[in-house]
Symmetry: C2
Subunit: 226 residues, 2 copies
């Protein structure tokens, strides 16, 4: 049996698609700014310019809307990092030189950081993801399996190559995790990072400084101690 909401979600509609998108955008914004419980469906409906039942018509209930946000977010994120990720994966299959892995790792991190810092929307998405992964809720599985896990996997495989160890090596995974956390420190933790750095915003100059430090961190992987 197919639920109404499923039918609506699957697409194939013409009239309601625009409304659905408006609601989704409003929800994505709201859930990016505050937690699941802190956000009210009333506010989302108002922001989307619809009434409460309309929201329920398209997404069933609050959790359904929340999950739909996660799905949408993953899709948009993937379309932005697909290029760099594909290149990295390709390199992992064909090339075995550690230094090439380093370049791909830098490119990957750069793509991630650039994307995250780039748009105001991406900042909210990062907060959404960070919040959901830290305090697992209705969208945890979606975000973990489709976003976090693939990202960590590619990264740790590149790191493993750099260290000259096998792909599943824990040390490589740790370093990958630390690297990703470092990027996220400036995004999901953007507010606190700004205050800490005494910056009013993250512009080109600030981004360059962050990227330089991230490059340092990548350069340190597999390097001999001084």
């Amino acid at each position: 049996m197919v639920e109404k909401t499923q039918a609506a979600a699957t697409g194939g509609y013409r009239k309601g698609e625009k409304t659905r998108q408006r609601i989704l955008d409003a929800a994505l914004k709201a859930f990016g700014e505050a937690s699941f419980t802190a956000v009210t469906t009333r506010r989302i409906a108002q922001a989307g310019g619809v009434s409460l039942p309309t929201l329920q018509y398209y997404f069933g209930d609050k959790e359904g809307l929340y999950r739909a946000c996660a799905e949408a977010l993953v899709d948009r994120y993937r379309s932005h990092t697909a290029a760099a990720a594909a290149k990295a994966r390709q390199a992992l299959q064909q090339d075995f030189a550690p230094e090439t892995a380093r370049l791909h790792l830098k490119a990957l991190i750069r793509a991630l950081a650039g994307f995250l810092v780039g748009t105001k929307e991406a900042q909210r998405w990062a907060q959404f993801v960070a919040r959901e992964l830290r305090d697992p809720g209705p969208a945890f599985d979606i975000l973990y399996k489709r976003l976090w896990q693939p990202g960590v996997d590619v990264t740790s495989r590149l790191v493993a190559r750099l260290l000259g160890v096998s792909e599943g090596d824990p040390a490589a995974r740790i370093k990958a995790l630390l690297l990703i956390s470092s990027v996220l420190a400036f995004q999901s933790g953007r507010g606190i990072a700004l205050r800490t750095m005494h910056w009013s915003s993250i512009g080109p100059n600030e981004l360059a400084m962050v990227l330089a430090s991230l490059d340092d961190q990548i350069d340190a992987i597999g390097a001999r101690r001084s």
Copy 2:
């Protein structure tokens, strides 16, 4: 005019002190596990074995209780890291050798990581802090000024010494921020870290691996590129 709640909070009471503490413990646990809005005063009261008005009697309202939790948390945290922080500060005044700074930095990070990973309580505190700093609420100022800022300051001063730059140098602050974020990745982000690493818990072996990677990261500061 002194409010009742102020008088109760200030101490000087005998009978109610124990009750107050029970409520505070229950609240600290609850707010460690979920966000301000997600936690209900009812549950806290029940967990603390008191009725709702009792809670209000001691802390005024929900926000007051929340702030009291932040204060208590900061105090406990400080008593645990005071030793290492004091040593580091002392060294900053007396000693100018970069390599000594490196040792103090490692000790500081080690103390932080060990404390955080050590007790189950500390894990919840870390979540509380992370949540509040990411999504500023009623306790933001307390946690930022009394916990985050002092920590980042000492760390970045040590890093600056290592890099041979002035204390306010942005590059040093960035590296300090990344370093602290790395530690927190395994604490406030403990759940996701466990899953990522395929660990069931963070025991002595796991902690050793994390610390090794953090040491690597510290070793890389101020080192020449390979």
